[in-house]
Amino acid sequence: MSDLHHLSIAKLVDGLQNQHFSSVELTDHFLKRINTLDKKVNSFITIDEEGARQAAQQADDRRSAGDNSVLLGLPMAHKDLFCTKGLLTTSGSKILHSFGSPYDATIVSNIREAGAVCLGKLNMDEFAMGSDNESSYYGAVHNPWDLSRVPGGSSGGSAAAVAAGFVPFATGSDTGGSIRQPASFCGLTGIKPTYGRVSRFGMIAYASSLDQAGTFGRSAQDCAYLLQPMAGHDARDATSIKRDVPDYVADLQSAAAQADADKPFAGLRIGVAKEYFGKGLDAEVDANVRAALKQYEELGATIVEVNITDPEITLATYYMLAPAEASSNLSRFDGVRFGYRCEDPKDLADLYTRSRSEGFGVEVQRRILMGTYALSAGYFDAYYTKAQKVRRLILQDFKNAFEKCDVIASPTAPTAAYKLDAALDPVTMYLGDVYTIGVNLAGLPAISMPAGFTESGLPIGLQLIGNHWDDSKLLSTAHIFQQHTDHHTKLSATAQESI
């Protein structure tokens, strides 16, 4: 029972359904690992032992009563920007240090109803703004592959927890790469679904038109299991779309079953854009991603050249629009109704100014200021309006590319995980998002999966971008690859630690 955390979701489901172990045992196993090892990783902000044990017991009771739901009794954890009733929900910020949410996010209640057991809330960059998880008020997260390195961000806690074997899978959110880049840094698979696929109700907003919830797992199939209860229309989110939800696990299994044994990717056209292999790309990352693409070709895929928008233009567009939306989204954190309030405010202006200056960290304040500037009278047309126009062109470029290919492949991030104390200046850090943000601006689905390792053993991610609503196709394309390769089966140092 000591290596339960090495098992895939399919094996865990099988073990629970065939009563090789109970949810209480499974939950205990993961809680013990968290309690022993998370001191080094710092992936959790809140550990809900009591709630988790209760939920596990209930799952076992349901099991005894004949309930055989797929996710019943499976431990998981949520990124700390999903509101959870009765639990602290901080979004990584001091300003929400005391915010116990009175309600559940739609995905939180959906996952609970599916029977999964929530072990707690995961660390993240403050308000999901950051790419290395160092902007969290609750401390930096350490990469389980090398504790001196960052796990990526903003869903750094989610990625680190799964990579460390603290939970078999976890939720995350992705506004500009916040699932894919930490998945890449932590050797995981992570999917950012099509915008509108997963409800945003109860997910604390960073940039509403870009935010989308998704999942982390050790494989595409693991991700598919958790995505299932999250996907679907929600009447409480006007941007969620009414559209049938496929059975992701069944889809990828039947795709694998139907695929040719030697050339499973026969007929698949993978678009490669030179814009994704330009300056700034680390040589080892370049080599490993190209090797992975070679494997795809060997397995029958055809590589076609496509063009997408210059990533530097995409980056500039993102850093106009995301902060603009954020500056407004974060106005509700004003010290009046909930969260942090400064001591002895002199007057209303003082209450606002100090509560926000003391409650928000540097990166958040920087983005609020950038966004406020972009929306200001006299600048709005030059910045915000223009960026919206460019956004439409970025989408058009992707649409044109998808005329020629089924998926687009790229490195997920220009580098592998860097050192915690790298103290990147903001612009260098923003450049780390260069391959992932276009997807959010276009509302497309994308997945990151392990594609190899650096000399020093750090994971490298391959990103696959799909056309709108091709979430299932992306999962299958990654799943079949993972059936023929073993990058995703490697374990981080922390995951290999027994207790």
């Binding site: 920007l81 999903f82 509101c83 929900t89 979004s91 929400l96 915010f99 949410s101 009175p102 309600y103 996010a105 945003r200 109700f201 109860g202 997910m203 604390i204 907003a205 940039a207 509403s208 038109s209 009447a235 409480r236 989110d237 006007a238 941007t239 603009a324 939306e325 500056s327 407004s328 974060l330 106005s331 509700r332 954190f333 004003d334 009046v336 109704r337 909930f338 209303l348 606002y352 406020t372 929306l375 200001s376 009278a377 709005f380 915000y384």
Partner: protein, 506 residues
């Protein structure tokens, strides 16, 4: 209606009689009108007025982290009705924008409104200024736009000493903000416009429009200029909560501005408060510290496209508008301007009137109008009630009028029956009047023989009066009629009594 489609802003002839000390007054008005959906514009909380603070604010209204707005579809129909009612271009592509500013009663730190693509575009409304007075005249007022938006909560300054409380019951209440062209040239024109809009929104049943409860709030932008010159600097009178206050506030503000200019000063752009006690306007804040609201499209709400079929269906279901109905009442039913105006004061009253006519026939329109405007509205007013509270239903009133028309009742008897009906006698059915007539024996006596017998008896008993009459004293005749009526206990048909008396006395 005449087909004038353009607002008359630019080419309005100057009415000399409206000039004040030679100055022309220019007024534009913004009305915040609460639309009467049961729930709020972006949440499922109720919109009732006067509940305990913060009892009708849910997580969405509180602006908690993670919550999202979802548009209440019922508002689209209401706003479109308004747009059709003011002959406006309708916005078929609706988008919502955020107006960003910090205030404790604004939970999200922004208000969701329609800046770029409002649901109601340019339109107009025809109003009557100084209605019912000698100097009455008609005028067309341009409407710039009408847009949907959410209301803010309320800051409560007197609940906790030294502290400001926040009540979010009103936060998210649905409003349509109706913006007029600067077309009004006097306080009377402003009041006529506001009354017309008020009548329209209640007529269309899209708003309760109760000024005292804040569900119909008027902000008036007032400036003065020498005729022919550019617009002067305007001030905005806020939170005016009665027609009387609106009129007085505008008048005082005009005087204040003219005084400043006459003294060689300049009017400063400002938001003004009107103090009804002192009957004066005061500066609340100047616009120098104007905020930059950083409007931008709300990414939480997708554009709402309205299909032409939806508009057509709403247009087909629109009630006849007050202006049209009033016109029809005078031309088709032959009512006086005055009667037509009173009877179209509210849609319910006009419906009541026409419902009575449906039973008694349009040829008795004048009779029905008289009874409704006189007896019924008089009684209702006395009880502080409106037509919708009338204890006499349309068919019951019609039943009474029928008995007048078929001579069962005299005018005097009919008043007695009316009083009984109003007091709830005669039951709830259509034949209540008949039951009262039956029960009280109020049927008019029209049998010539029976009346003759009474007349003869009265003549026999009042020889002195008869002599006086025969001696040339006409007044004595009325005395005799009175005696006959008294002897018949009011039931004898007065015309017949007259006739028979004359026959007998020669």
């Amino acid at each position: 209606m005449t087909a004038i489609t353009e607002s008359n802003t630019t080419h309005q002839p100057i009415r000399k009689e409206l000039l004040i000390d030679g100055y022309e007054v220019v007024i534009g008005i913004e009305i915040h009108c609460q639309l009467n959906t049961d729930s709020k514009i972006f949440s499922s909380s109720p919109t009732k007025f006067g509940n305990e603070p913060n009892t009708q604010a849910n997580i969405v209204d509180l602006g908690l982290p993670g919550v999202l707005p979802v548009l209440n579809e019922g508002l689209i129909e209401r706003a479109l009705k308004f747009g059709i009612g003011v002959n406006a271009e309708l916005g078929l592509l609706n988008t919502f924008d955020r107006k960003n500013y910090f205030y404790p009663d604004l939970p999200k730190g922004y208000q969701i409104t329609q800046m770029e693509n409002p649901i109601v575009g340019k339109g107009y409304i025809d109003v009557i200024v100084n209605e019912g007075q000698k100097n009455e005249y008609a005028k067309r007022i341009g409407i710039t736009r009408g847009h949907l938006e959410e209301d803010a909560g309320k800051s409560v300054h007197d609940a906790v000493p030294g502290m400001t409380g926040v009540d979010l019951n009103r936060a998210g209440t649905p409003l349509i903000e109706i913006v007029s062209e600067p077309d009004m040239r006097s306080a009377s024109e402003a009041v006529a416009y506001i009354k017309a809009i008020h009548q329209l929104v209640t007529w269309l049943d899209i708003s309760d429009a109760i000024m005292a409860e804040g569900s119909f709030r008027c902000d008036c932008n007032v400036s003065v200029r020498q005729p022919g010159e550019e617009f002067g600097t305007r001030t905005e009178l806020k939170n005016l909560n009665s027609f009387r206050n609106i009129e007085n506030a505008i008048k005082r503000e005009i005087e204040r501005q003219i005084d400043i200019i006459e003294d060689g000063g300049k009017v400063v752009q400002a938001t003004m408060l009107y103090d009804p006690e002192a009957d004066e306007t005061r500066i609340m804040r100047t616009k120098e510290d104007a905020d930059d609201y950083r409007y931008f499209p709300d990414p939480d709400l997708l554009p709402v496209r309205i299909e032409q079929e939806t508009v057509d269906a709403i247009r087909a279901s629109m009630p006849e508008l007050p202006v049209v109905r009033r016109e029809r009442f005078s031309t088709e039913l032959g009512l006086s301007e005055y009667d037509a105006r009173i009877l179209t004061d509210s849609r319910e009253l006009a419906d009541y009137f026409e419902s009575v006519l449906a039973t008694v026939g349009t040829e008795h329109a004048k009779l029905a109008a008289n009874w409704i405007m006189g007896d019924l509205l008089g009684a209702l007013n006395k009880d502080d009630k409106t037509i919708t509270d009338s204890p006499i239903s349309e068919v019951q009133l019609a039943g009474l009028l029928k008995r007048l028309n078929d001579n069962t009742l005299s005018g005097k008897l009919a008043k007695q029956v009316f009083t009984a009906l109003y007091d709830g006698e005669g039951g709830n059915e259509a034949d209540a009047a008949d039951k009262i007539i039956e029960a009280k024996g109020l049927k008019q006596e029209t049998d010539t023989g029976a009346i003759k017998a009474i007349v003869e008896e009265v003549i026999a008993n009042n020889q002195a009066m008869v002599d006086e009459y025969k001696g040339g004293k006409e007044k004595a005749f009325n005395g005799l009629v009175g005696q006959v009526m008294k002897a018949s206990r009011g039931k004898a048909n007065p015309q017949q009594v007259n006739q028979i008396l004359k026959e007998i006395l020669g």
